[in-house]
C-alpha cells in the first residue's frame, strides 16, 4: 500500500516540476510556478521518507538540517553579482550527491550487478565526477581564486582527449566486467581529472557556455541515478535539467558564433590576436567627451538605448543606470535596455542585475527585439560592453569574432561609450565602434562616470 502512495507522490512531483518550468515562460507566473515545483520537491521527499528500506532517520535529519542551513544562508546573503558563482558551485553539489549515491550503490552491490545497472551507475559517476571538479573550477575562476585567463600548455587538447578516452574505455570495460573494482574507482579519478583539465583552458567570457554545459551534465547525472536505482522522478527531473542546460549552451554558443568544440578546445582570448584584428583601425582618433556634454545629449534625447555589459556589473553601477534612466524619462525621453545573450557571466545575468536595481522588466529587450530600433535611437549608451557591440563582427571577415551576432549600436544617431580606458576587451580585439565619428568616449569608472552625468543633468 505504501509503495502505491510513494509512486503517486513521485508522479505528482513530476507533474509539478513540469508545471513549475512552464511557469517560467511568463514572468508574471514565474514565482507561482516555482512554488509549485518546490511543493513537488516536498511531496517527493515525504514520499521517499515512507520507504520501508529506510531504517534510521538520524543521518537523514542531520543532513537535511545542515544542508538547509547552508542552502538558506547562501541564498539569503549571496549578492546578485555572485549568482554565476553560486550556480557553478551548486552544480558541483548536485553532481557530488549523484556521484556519492552511485559510489555507495556500487560499493554495496558490487557482487551482483548486471551490465544494464552497471551502465547506469558508470554513466552516473563518470558524468557526476567530471561535473564536480569542472563546476568547482568554474566557481574558482568566477570567484577569482583560480586564474580566470585561459591556462594553456603544449599538447593540452591531445592529453585531455586521451584522458577522456581512458575514462570511457574503463566505462565500457565495466559494463562487461562489473566486478572490477579497480576499474570503477580509476574511472572516478579519471572523471575528476577530466573536469579540472577541461575547464582550465576556458576564459571568463566563455563562462556562459561552460556553466550551461555543466548544468546539463549535472542533470544527466541525476537522470542516470534514476536509472541506477529504478526511480522515474529522478529520470524526469534530471532530463528536464539536462534539456535546459543543453538548450542554453546551444543558445550561448550561437550568440558567440562558436561551436561547442571551439569553446572547449579553442582557448579563446589567450592573448594571441588575429592578424586582421587591429589592421582596420589605422590612424583613426577617438573623441572624448566630458560628463557635461554627455548629460546634454542624454537629457534631450527622445529615445536612449542602454547597452550594459559585464563591466557594469564589475563597477556595481546598476543603481546609477536606473537613476540616470529615471532622469531621462523626467526630461521626456524614453529609455530601453538592450541585452545581448552573452552579456555577463551566465545566461540572463544582466536581466537579474537590472531587475535588482528596480528596472521594470518590460524595458529589457533581447537582441532580436531591439536591434531594429537602434536606427531611431538618439543615443546608444554603452556601459562596460565591448565585443558584443563591435561592428567588426559584421564587417571584418578577418576578425576573430566575425559572424558573431552583435547589437547594432553603431546605427544609433549618437553613441556614448563609458569605458575605463582604451584597453581592448577580453578577447583582445580592437573595436572600431570607438573610432566612429558619431561615437563619444566618456572615460572613467562606470559608477563614477554615471554619477557625474547624473549630477550634470540635475544641474541643467
Amino acid at each position: 500500500m505504501t509503495e502505491y502512495f510513494i509512486q503517486a507522490a513521485y508522479l505528482a512531483a513530476s507533474v509539478l516540476f513540469i508545471l513549475g518550468i512552464k511557469g517560467l515562460t511568463r514572468p508574471e507566473r514565474a514565482r507561482r510556478g516555482m512554488q509549485l515545483a518546490a511543493l513537488g520537491m516536498l511531496v517527493a521527499i515525504i514520499g521517499t521518507l515512507l520507504n520501508h528500506q529506510i531504517i534510521t532517520y538520524v543521518w537523514i535529519i542531520l543532513g537535511l538540517l545542515i544542508g538547509s542551513g547552508i542552502g538558506a544562508a547562501m541564498s539569503i546573503w549571496m549578492p546578485m553579482t555572485a549568482i554565476p558563482q553560486r550556480t557553478a558551485i551548486s552544480h558541483a553539489f548536485g553532481a557530488l550527491a549523484a556521484t556519492l549515491v552511485g559510489i555507495a550503490e556500487y560499493y554495496e552491490h558490487v557482487g551482483h550487478l548486471d551490465g544494464t545497472k552497471m551502465a547506469a551507475l558508470g554513466f552516473e559517476v563518470m558524468f557526476g565526477s567530471l561535473t564536480i571538479t569542472g563546476s568547482f573550477m568554474a566557481f574558482g575562476k568566477l570567484q577569482g581564486f583560480v586564474k580566470s585567463a585561459p591556462v594553456t600548455y603544449k599538447f593540452q587538447n591531445h592529453s585531455n582527449i586521451a584522458l577522456f578516452v581512458v575514462a570511457f574505455v574503463l566505462f565500457v570495460f565495466l559494463i562487461f566486467s562489473p566486478g572490477s573494482q579497480w576499474a570503477f574507482y580509476l574511472m572516478v579519478l579519471a572523471g575528476l581529472a577530466v573536469g579540472v583539465l577541461i575547464v582550465l583552458p576556458i576564459g571568463g567570457a566563455d563562462m556562459p557556455v561552460v556553466i550551461s554545459l555543466l548544468n546539463s551534465y549535472a542533470g544527466l547525472a541525476s537522470s542516470a541515478t534514476g536509472f541506477a536505482i529504478g526511480n522515474n522522478v529522478l529520470i524526469i527531473a534530471g532530463a528536464l535539467d539536462g534539456a535546459s542546460g543543453f538548450l542554453l549552451s546551444i543558445l550561448m554558443s550561437k550568440a558567440m558564433n562558436r561551436s561547442f568544440a571551439n569553446v572547449i578546445f579553442g582557448a579563446f582570448g589567450g592573448g594571441e590576436t588575429g592578424p586582421g584584428a587591429t589592421a582596420a583601425i589605422g590612424d583613426l582618433t577617438v573623441h572624448a567627451v566630458t560628463a557635461e556634454d554627455a548629460a546634454m545629449q542624454l537629457a534631450y534625447a527622445r529615445l536612449v538605448i542602454v547597452v550594459p555589459g559585464y563591466g557594469m556589473a564589475v563597477a556595481q553601477a546598476q543603481m546609477q543606470v536606473r537613476e540616470l534612466a529615471e532622469l531621462i524619462e523626467k526630461h521626456g525621453g524614453e529609455v530601453k535596455y538592450a541585452i545581448h545573450p552573452v552579456a555577463g557571466r551566465m545566461p540572463g545575468h544582466m536581466n537579474v542585475l537590472l531587475a535588482e536595481a528596480n528596472v521594470p522588466y518590460d524595458r529589457l529587450y533581447d537582441m532580436d527585439e531591439i536591434n531594429g530600433e537602434f536606427q531611431r535611437a538618439d543615443v546608444a549608451l554603452v556601459i562596460g560592453a565591448n565585443d558584443v557591440v563591435n561592428p567588426a563582427a559584421r564587417n571584418n571577415p578577418s576578425s576573430p569574432i566575425h559572424g558573431m551576432p552583435i547589437l547594432n549600436v553603431d546605427q544609433a544617431r549618437r553613441v556614448i561609450v563609458i569605458k575605463r580606458s582604451m584597453n581592448p576587451g577580453f578577447a583582445g580585439i580592437e573595436n572600431e565602434l570607438f573610432y566612429q565619428p558619431n561615437t563619444s568616449m566618456l572615460f572613467g569608472d562606470g559608477k563614477k562616470a554615471l554619477l557625474e552625468v547624473i549630477g550634470a543633468i540635475k544641474a541643467l
Binding site: 516540476f17 514572468p27 515545483a37 534510521t56
Partner: protein
C-alpha cells in the same frame, strides 16, 4: 526479454519523453528569465536527494551511510538554496508601474 531489460526500456521511454517535454517548454522561456531558469532546474535536479535519503537511512555499511549523509547534505543545499534564490530573483522582476517606489507622472 528479461524483466530487467523491459524496465530499462520503459525508463528510457520516460527519459526521452521527459527530455522532449523539457526541450519544448524551455524554448519558450524568454531570455529575460534564463538565470532563474538555470537556478530552478538546478534546484529541481536536487531531486537526487531522493536517492541519497535511501542510502543514508537504509541498511547499509558505515561507509555507504556516511557517503549517503554527505549526499543528503549536498543535495539539500541545492534544493533549499536553489528554490530560495530563484524566488528571491523572481521577486525582483516587476513590470512597469508596479515598482515599489512611487513613480511621478511624466
Amino acid at each position: 526479454m528479461s524483466m530487467e531489460a523491459v524496465t530499462t526500456i520503459l525508463e528510457l521511454y520516460v527519459f526521452v519523453l521527459a527530455g522532449f517535454v523539457g526541450y519544448q517548454l524551455i524554448t519558450r522561456v524568454p531570455p529575460l528569465l534564463h538565470t532563474p531558469l538555470m537556478s530552478a532546474t538546478n534546484a529541481i535536479s536536487g531531486i537526487s536527494l531522493v536517492g541519497s535519503l535511501v542510502v543514508a537511512g537504509g541498511e547499509f555499511s558505515g561507509l555507504a551511510t556516511f557517503l549517503g549523509f554527505i549526499a543528503v547534505t549536498a543535495a539539500t543545499i541545492n534544493v533549499v538554496g536553489g528554490f530560495m534564490i530563484t524566488d528571491r530573483m523572481l521577486k525582483m522582476f516587476k513590470p512597469q508601474g508596479s515598482s515599489e517606489r512611487p513613480k511621478e507622472p511624466a
